[in-house]
Subunit: 157 residues, 2 copies
DNA sequence: TTATATACTTAGTAAAACACTAGGGATTTG
DNA sequence: CAAATCCCTAGTGTTTTACTAAGTATATAA
């Protein structure tokens, strides 16, 4: 499972599409302006999204993009997998000696964790995010969730 | 939240440490052999892990590494944050016009999602992974969780 | 029918990250 | 002292990231 800024760009763009695509298609220029992502980079991302049928393009003036299916039928995992290319990189696919099972054990543990994370974001749809945004009032200033990285050095014995 | 192969290397190495560190320290050479990670790269990863007190090094012959605290006190999030450097990249920290709240909305939605994923892996400890590995019998061959990437193009209307 | 606005495509590129090699130094054991 | 280990710094080829540039294809509108 890979989860990087590229995936965030894609999710952000799809969110923009879900929020603004109610009345007519949304142009990439709009998303580019709205979200501060370069137009050409968006075009590359949308090429990948289109390949997975997550968006549908309409050409010509007045054109733009629609979601490829209903917002509640598009999971965050769908989006991230479309642009971030699931990387499977276990080296001991049956071959190699696996150090008496020891090596494979950690590999399997990682794969379990990886699958858990995948299943987690698989369950979250674009519609979930949108309805959550409309329900709870969000301020513009957000801060890092409390104690994510800086307190780790202190709390050790 | 970033989750890449680098984080996997770190989690894998920590798992190795948790599994083999019961009787004496584990050397990086051992982990390097066990997990197929280059020694020098491991040293770099462990520099980061040590900085967060997630591991404790013992020098000299017979030395190696111990976990910095109990395995149930080390979360996967701790490990990944130590090596993968939490990237905060919202560009509208109060400044910029935020397009009438529209832009910030998607940003906040992403931040919520990001926090959810973080809290998810925050709840999984090294000890959890180890006990899970000992309980359920894992074969050596693992396959990609069914239908992760290839079925997306077909299931669209 | 010509101009324009959009989607689509390909090529290139600077910067960063990744994973590694190389070469040492510091510290502890025997 | 010698060896094994941790520890540190610098460099390097490859890949990824995010972008620029320069087009082509298609649909709308004057």
């Amino acid at each position: 499972m890979r989860l990087s800024t590229k995936g965030r760009y894609a999710v952000t763009a799809m969110l923009d599409l879900a929020l603004n695509g109610q009345d007519g298609p949304v142009t990439l220029s709009d998303i580019s302006e709205n979200q501060g992502i370069s137009l050409s980079y968006l075009e590359q991302l949308f090429a990948a999204l289109r390949a997975k049928n997550l968006v549908r393009g309409v050409r010509g003036p007045g054109g733009g993009y629609f979601l490829g299916r209903e917002a509640d039928e598009i999971s965050i995992a769908n989006i991230i997998c479309a642009v971030d290319e699931w990387v499977e990189f276990t080296r001991c696919q049956g071959r190699e000696d696996c150090r008496g099972g020891q090596r494979c054990m950690t590999h399997n543990l990682w794969d379990d964790l990886s699958r858990q994370i995948y299943e987690f974001i698989e369950e979250i749809s674009l519609a979930d995010l949108v309805s959550r945004g409309q329900g709870g009032g969000h301020g513009c200033h957000k801060e890092k969730p409390a104690g994510i990285q800086d307190d780790l050095s202190e709390q050790a014995a």
